[in-house]
Symmetry: C2
Subunit: 171 residues, 2 copies
């Protein structure tokens, strides 16, 4: 038996153990994630997640902010890129592919008219594009199969590409 | 004329100037935002946005990560909370409402079966909920009107609640 635990520094045994636990007890697959956001004045805010240091958010000066941190729509693109990175690392490791490097450029188009109250409609991204550069010694068809697996299983990717029931309520 | 520029520390004049510029030249409303993600081994990665310090990402140990930072699906919830905070701050200021505090708790339910390859389907959030606490001296109907305006104009909120064309391609 080949030990692939440390390939790409991915703890494949932890992933396998979780997968097996959820296969045995499907209700263990149901997870809930949280973030607590506190407004800091102007367009600045901070998000607290578990015990990690608060992550700051702001808007560029042109949008009325003090430009001290990435803004929320940029954070959304970062979340997608980071999610895809986990997907490629996990699935490459499961397939025995050694990654030398991985870089994901994400961009999205957003028209400000609705956000600024100039017209009703869709205030969000009109389109989001991710361009993935994989540096690995693997046949192109293996990288293509890896890619397809990642696209088929990306939690953030699927959240963006589908309608998600969203409830926003005043306490 | 009342100067409301510093109400809630929001630079309302910058927002008004941008709104007026886009009203005059609608093509100025079209914006593109970017994030560059670099894999750092295991499930760690870093997102670079403009000239800000790279923001780290990781997964909890139970998911095979080294638990050094919030994970991508948590970052997505943070982006929503931060976006709503900008929306409440901007629209409260425009309405002349002084905010003493604002806190937004966001949570989302995600079933891991698809992410772990145990079944095809939807790997993303099944539902996302945000609970908004506003501390302000304003009649409840003004806060309700504020809330409705924010929900109707939230870029991240609309991106999550709608199907967004998403292209993920290998370079």
């Amino acid at each position: 038996m080949t030990h692939t635990t440390t390939l790409n520094h991915v703890d494949l045994e932890a992933v396998a153990a979780l997968t097996e636990a959820i296969r045995r007890e499907p209700e263990k697959g149901a997870t809930t994630w949280r973030a607590e956001v506190e407004w800091r004045g102007g367009f600045r805010s901070e998000a607290r997640i578990r015990d990690f240091a608060p992550v700051p958010s702001d808007e560029p000066a042109g949008l009325g902010g003090s430009d001290s941190a990435p803004n929320p729509v940029e954070q959304l693109l970062a979340a997608l890129g980071n999610c895809l990175a986990v997907g490629y690392a996990a699935n490459a490791t499961a397939a025995g592919i050694t990654l030398r490097g991985l870089r994901i450029d994400v961009e999205g188009d957003l028209d400000l008219h609705t956000f600024l109250g100039l017209r009703p409609g869709h205030a969000g991204y009109e389109a989001i594009r991710a361009r993935v550069e994989i540096d690995a010694d693997a046949p192109v068809e293996d990288l293509q199969a890896l890619h397809e697996k990642v696209v088929a299983t990306s939690p953030v990717g699927h959240t963006l590409a589908r309608e998600i029931p969203l409830e926003i309520r005043l306490a």
